[in-house]
């Protein structure tokens, strides 16, 4: 169907690999999965057309081995590589290797990845392009003394950030001048440890901001459009937990201004494909600031798809195949409301400890406007080696209230047996009045609220009854499954006089 994309290798695992395989198959494109030895049973291997083992369990020996992945592509006759998110998706050197091997890279040019990869360089580019950034330095700061002087000029609290950072790491808030020296030293050493680069810069601390991001799509022919915003302010440890669109409190003028700036930012680095520009938005002042650009597909891309009707992965593939954008900015609308929650294999009630293990039973929710993007199945053993996200659940509604109540319904229908998940915690968030009010900021999950929501949803009486019956049946007839299978029950009913009345 798309000649340059005859067969696509998906250089990822989990739900996003499944997502990309689905988009390819819908376009009539053949697919190749890659998998580590720990992932032979993973869903993306089952769903793809072909599969190649690329090494042992640790990511560094499998999903991060660029040369091995390119070898797998060449060996299977794949003509393109889709990186998903995470792993090698924002690795400019890998993007270059892919192109040098004669393959199509389903992503932005390596130069755009590089331009946005260093936070200080990105800030410089954005300032030059006239994009508002959080007040602070656009270069790494040399000495502690210089940094302190700048911090005083901006006014405390300030944020110290690693230039090479990402994923919520290498960030430290400094409230007072007397904490500055120790924060400076620890941020620098953490930056060196985590990113092999101790360059650190400084930003003003924005009080209780919303995290709002704009989705953009750019083709290879110079056209770039935005697909509106996503509000990703519900965060725990700088990780997004719930995402929605539209943002429930963003004034229309600000939405438009932010979107315009996002398109400018993408244009400034000659962007191609799907990308996201993240902003901090102050509800108090109404101002917004460029935070960073993610030069890849986002985990939360489905909410944008649900309100715009645009399949972003399909769009990535068509753009990579050289197509011009097939719609104009003015054709795009936000219709209704969409919310996504990320379902993790973790135990919220036990301080969110990871909970890998075997999924002994699984029943996913269904019905109208319920979308499940899952990387698991009944009988699957969630491995200990990778990210604990097992699925995403997305609901659309004609209003925010409709989307929220539908999502709560779907979460209550979700059955995952054998492992702990974040499902009850997510249900509690959606039922929280401040979330429902819509004005929540990144400070939403205060320690108090986190403690309350992570222990919500106890049904002690029901659990008491279930445990009593389980033990009773085990004591009465050990070795047999407690009580009846469906068929036995029907017989029993039929055999018991009076039960039919």
């Amino acid at each position: 169907m798309h000649a340059p994309l005859h067969k696509v290798l998906v250089a990822n695992r989990g739900e996003i690999a499944v997502r990309v395989v689905r988009a390819c198959h819908e376009l009539g494109i053949a697919t190749v999965a890659v998998y580590s030895e720990a992932d032979r049973s993973a869903l993306h291997v089952r769903n793809a057309g072909e599969a190649v083992c690329i090494g042992p369990a640790p990511s560094s020996e499998s999903y991060l081995r660029g040369e091995r992945i390119i070898e797998a592509a060449l060996q299977t006759g794949a003509t393109a590589i889709h990186p998903g998110y995470g792993f090698l998706s924002e690795n400019a050197a890998f993007a270059r290797m892919v192109v040098d091997a004669g393959l199509v890279w389903v992503g932005p040019p390596a130069a755009a990845i590089e331009a946005m990869g260093s936070k200080t360089r990105a800030r410089q580019r954005m300032v030059a392009a006239g994009v508002p950034v959080v007040p602070g330095t656009t270069h790494a700061i040399e000495t502690e003394q210089e940094a302190l002087t700048i911090a005083r000029g901006i006014g405390f609290p300030v944020m110290l950030k690693a230039a090479g950072g990402g994923g919520g790491k290498g960030i430290r808030k400094v409230d007072h001048e007397d904490e500055f020296a120790s924060a400076w030293r620890s941020t620098k050493s953490e930056a060196l440890r985590s990113f092999k680069d101790d360059a650190v810069y400084l930003e003003k601390f924005v009080e209780n901001p919303k995290h709002i991001e704009i989705q953009v799509l750019a083709d290879q022919h110079g056209t770039c459009v935005h697909l509106f915003e996503r509000d990703c302010s519900v965060q725990r440890r700088n990780q997004k937990v719930v995402e929605e669109t539209p943002c429930p409190v963003l004034p229309e003028a600000t939405r438009q201004a932010m979107a315009k700036v996002a398109v400018q930012a993408a244009a400034a680095v000659d962007y191609v494909g799907a990308g996201t520009i993240e902003f901090l938005y102050s509800q108090a002042s109404g101002e917004f600031y460029f935070l960073e650009m993610n030069t890849r597909l986002q985990v939360e891309h489905p909410v944008t798809e649900m309100v715009t009707g645009i399949d972003l992965v399909r769009a990535q593939l068509r753009i990579a195949a050289g197509e011009k954008l097939w719609f104009a900015q003015e054709d795009l609308r936000q219709t209704g409301h969409a919310i996504e929650v990320r379902i993790y294999a973790e135990s919220p009630a036990e301080n969110f400890r990871p909970a890998p293990g075997k999924i002994s039973g699984l029943r996913e929710p269904g019905g109208p406007w319920v979308r499940v993007d899952s990387g698991v199945y009944a009988g699957y053993e969630v491995p200990i080696h990778y990210d604990p996200m097992v699925a995403k659940l997305i609901c659309w509604g004609s209003t925010r209230e409709e989307a929220t109540t539908r999502l709560v319904r779907a979460l209550r229908e979700y059955r995952v047996r054998g492992i702990h998940t974040s499902i009850p915690f997510l249900t509690a968030i959606l039922s929280d009045p401040e979330f429902q009010g819509g004005a929540y900021s990144t400070g939403f999950l205060t320690p108090d609220r986190l403690a309350r929501l992570s222990n919500a949803g106890q049904n002690a009486r029901i659990a008491t009854i279930a445990a009593a019956i389980a033990r009773f049946e085990a004591d009465i007839r050990p070795g047999r499954p407690p009580a009846s299978t469906p068929n036995q029950s029907a017989w029993k009913l039929a055999a018991r006089p009076g039960s039919a009345r």
Binding site: A345, E346, S347, A349, E350, R353, P354, A355, P356, G357, S360, G361, I384, H385, Y386, D387, P388, L411, R412, Y414, R415, V416, R417, G418, H420, T421, I423, P424, T427, A456, G457, Q458, N459, A460, I462, A463, T464, I465, A466, A467, A468, I469, A470, R471, F472, A474, D475, P481, P482, A483, S484, T485, P486, S489, L493, G498, S499, R501
Partner: protein, 176 residues
Amino acid sequence: MKYEITIGETTRLVTIERDTGDGPATHRLTWIETDTDGTERNETHLVDLLRPSPEAFHMLIDGESWEAGCVASPDGYLVDVVGLTLAVGVVDPRRKALQLGVASAGGLLSTQMPGRIVRVMVAVGDVVKKGQPLIVIEAMKMENEMKSPIDGTIGEVYVSMGNTVETGAKLVRVDA
């Protein structure tokens, strides 16, 4: 049959029997429930149990539809209701007396999750405080500190760096 059933701080003494009435119920349960104001009252529930699949208990409790997943644990069951898994202790009072002789697990540190041992911070003979991190386990890209359950001296270390451990594996014994 009677069982002591404990969730968190609350223990209920539950009487359970097969239901022999005319209705579809399979089980009948009763216990004395203590309300928040301290008053006690009898609770009785008629339950029609069905296991639609091996991991699921579907119960019509007095006509209300509820589902639970029950997995046996050393002390009772892990019971999942509407997504939240609770540790439910179940004790048969007749057998309780027999079990009093069993030693408490006081100083034994074991893991609640599978993972890889990435740091062992103590050796046999070390003196440790309650809450002091002894072992670090990595699972799903996160490091988790396993802390000493008591003040004491390290009696034995069962794992070493790089080991992969399953849920329930013994890590360290701390002698008081």
